[in-house]
């Protein structure tokens, strides 16, 4: 493990900034929780450890573990195939497509999945045409896993791929010159590098699945499939027992914090210098070794992601766009969606970068405090964040006017955990590579960030920013709480239209949301990566 110098003078600001972010997160996340827990008397309808809750807890952890293991495991062959094969047609488009599920509201993803795997879905049509036996119904644990993998596997691929792209060119060349076979590439280069990203990817997916709600209930097939999040929702909404809801959220946070800390033990630090170039020429790139396997991995992984998205697209094409596009509300929703997503993403990425650069400068214990701060937000149900924030906002400010800020801040909080696993390893690597030199040149603060970190970390920033933009785009829970006639986003509009039977309109809105996701992801990666590509 790389040795760290004792913090020198210039580190103090970095660490202090991270503490500020940590306390801000705590204030925004925990204060509402406590406020809710203490503001109302609990009717005491439910205790924390009755069999109902314990059963739910078991199911929550089980499905989240399975979902995370599956998503990460499936991402490994696809990420390595994509890293190796840099030049097949449609690679860029495929990578953009892999970013889209993050930005889809869960209901739309579920309907997309049903269009493919459902009783009257695409696959069954094909099977019926070929006179083959039909698929079993997608409901139950397998439905939940299918949907969770659809959401999270593409994100895992992007994160692992980003890690593989930090492997220095010389290593690939060396491997070629030493006569590595595919299995040696995997053992000595691909796996050790992906392994660095896996704990972060795994915990992120795990937490997302712990807090999954719509997917679990809709595809779960019955109340035996219930997550803690459902119990929290029930406690807060139907039983209006905020104290119980806060306690349940506390239980969820405590359990996952434990798991995160355990996982951190597996993350090891190995310094590999960051690179300026975006695409590495892999000497083994057109190797015929494993070509069939790689092609299969890319094809199946691609189809798995593309088919439900395609279904959303084709459903959307049936909408009456003449009317839809003439509707002012749609444009207002698209505008607010973009504004909220970009602002929240900017906030989230900045906060994540602040934490990441401090983690790079910290010993293990302090690093894990910062890391937890950046991750645990995901475990506080948005409904609780929103309700708590509402309570505070309502008692102190004009709710109509501060709704926008509350929505942006909560969105940023919820997006932060997506930026951190990308930025943290990148900053750590950069720190280990440049620290001595930068210190010796007396470079500090922002000028150091601008000259040293920013140019080399740009690809990581692009990915982190993209992930946070998309996650905010698809967000629904918070805006539903704060939204008003004026403040409306595309997901909210979509749910509203469904709420009054207008599934066709909703499909059109979903299509527009999907295109917005694609456009933003294209724009962000183009602007941040290619416009500033260093001259050779």
């Amino acid at each position: 493990m790389a040795q760290r110098d004792e913090p020198v003078d210039g580190h103090r600001t970095a660490i202090v900034a991270a503490w500020v972010v940590t306390f801000a997160i705590a204030a925004i996340a925990v204060v509402p929780l406590l406020r809710l827990a203490t503001s109302f008397d609990s009717p005491g309808a439910m205790s924390l450890f009755e069999p109902y809750i314990l059963g739910i807890l078991r199911f929550t952890l089980m499905q989240a573990t399975l979902s995370a293991v599956l998503s990460a495991a499936l991402a490994i062959p696809v990420a390595r195939a994509l890293a190796k094969r840099q030049h097949f047609p449609g690679r860029e488009l495929l990578l953009k497509l892999f970013a889209v599920p993050l930005g889809l509201p869960q209901l739309i993803a579920v309907l997309g999945i049903i269009s493919v795997y459902g009783k009257e879905g695409l696959l069954n049509d094909l099977l019926a045409a070929a006179a083959l036996p039909l698929l079993p119904a997608v409901f139950g644990l397998k439905g939940i896993l299918l949907a969770h993998v659809f959401f999270n596997f593409p994100m895992a691929v992007r994160f692992l791929l980003a890690r593989l792209e930090t492997v220095p060119q010389e290593n690939w060349r060396l491997a070629a010159s030493l006569g590595f076979r595919p299995v040696d590439y995997f053992r000595h280069l691909e796996w050790p590098n992906m392994r660095l990203a896996l704990p972060g990817v795994f915990s992120l997916i795990f937490m997302l699945c712990v807090t999954s709600f719509t997917i679990v209930l809709t595809l779960g097939g019955g109340p035996q499939a219930t997550t803690l999040e459902v119990a929290i929702y029930q406690a807060l909404r139907f039983d209006f027992d905020p104290a119980l809801a806060a306690r349940l959220a506390g239980l969820q946070i405590a359990l996952c914090a434990l798991l995160l800390l355990l996982l951190q033990r597996f993350s090891v630090s190995v310094a590999t210098p960051p690179r300026l170039r975006i695409s590495v020429m892999r000497p083994d790139g057109d190797d015929s070794h494993g070509r069939l396997f790689d092609a299969l991995a890319i094809l199946l992984g691609g189809l798995f992601v593309a088919m439900p998205i395609g279904a959303v697209l084709s459903d959307g094409l049936g909408a009456d766009f003449g009317r839809l596009l003439g509707d002012q509300t749609l444009w207002r929703a698209a505008g607010w969606s973009t504004v909220i997503a970009l602002t929240a993403a900017l906030l989230a990425t900045t906060a994540a970068a602040t934490l990441a650069q401090a983690i790079a400068r910290s010993d293990a214990r302090r690093a894990s405090v910062f890391r937890l701060a950046g991750n645990l937000v995901l475990l506080i149900p948005p409904l609780i964040l929103a309700a708590g924030a509402f309570l505070i906002v309502h008692q102190n400010f004009d709710p109509q006017k501060s709704a926008l800020f509350a929505v942006i801040i909560i969105n940023a909080m919820m997006a932060l955990p997506f930026a951190l696993p990308v930025l943290e390893p990148a900053f750590r690597t950069s720190f280990e590579t440049h620290e001595r030199l930068a210190a010796s040149l007396g470079m500090r603060g922002f000028s150091r960030f601008r000259l040293i970190e920013w140019p080399t970390l740009k690809p990581s920033f692009a990915l982190a920013f993209l992930a946070t933009v998309l996650i905010s785009l698809g967000e629904f829970g918070v805006i539903a709480f704060f939204g008003s006639e004026r403040l409306i986003t595309l997901p909210l509009l979509l749910y509203q239209r469904i709420g009054s039977y207008r599934f066709n309109d909703a499909a059109g809105v979903a299509l527009i949301l999907l295109l917005l996701c694609l456009a933003l992801s294209l724009l962000i990666e183009r602007k941040m990566l290619f416009a500033t590509r260093p001259p050779a």
Partner: protein, 237 residues
Amino acid sequence: MTNAVLQIVALTFRYEDMQMCFDLDVERGEFVAVMGPSGAGKSTLLSLIAGFEKPLAGRVVWEGTDISTWRPADRPLSILFQDNNLFAHLDVFTNVALGISPSAKLNDEQRKVVATAIGRVGLTSYAARLPGELSGGERQRAALARILVRRKPLLLLDEPFAALGPALKKEMIELVKELQVELGLTILLVTHDPLDAKVAASHTAFIHRGRILAKRKTEELFKSRDIPALRDYLGET
């Protein structure tokens, strides 16, 4: 001129706007410095010889055989880069062992060979360390140990000592020269520093805008007046 063990014949490559075409003969046991301004195509030349890049045309001939379509691993050479010559998560011993078998699974005899090589470069007590725990010079020594066990007759050095201090650099060059004698190596050293060429190389080739303008005995090349680009490069007008 058939003594040449390595012949590079009209080896053509294009990188962005620059068209390159290399011709070079190297005799067995020569230590050739490939010198020139940055961006002249020095590293590209090594990449082409090593097989990391595919030439548009031309040949790389080793002992009379055209090897330009061979896979990198099959070519009779080892290469040492300026950086990242080691796999960061593997200890020194395993990194060296990869020179014998890509699976790094060795029998007792092979392990002895690896240990000897590590001893030869003076890293015996560092065998279990990770590259991140070594200094820059130690890392390059470890990489040299792997070259030792690979026993390939041609060694390509891509500015491997550029980041080292003068004393350390001198020490490393001495070590390489010793290994050259022990193993009978033919060496190409890419450098932008004329001093390296003077200290290390029996011969020096001058490369300019994708062409090799001359290859002569080192002291002759530095004395020669017939290559204006070289005079400009050396700052002697």
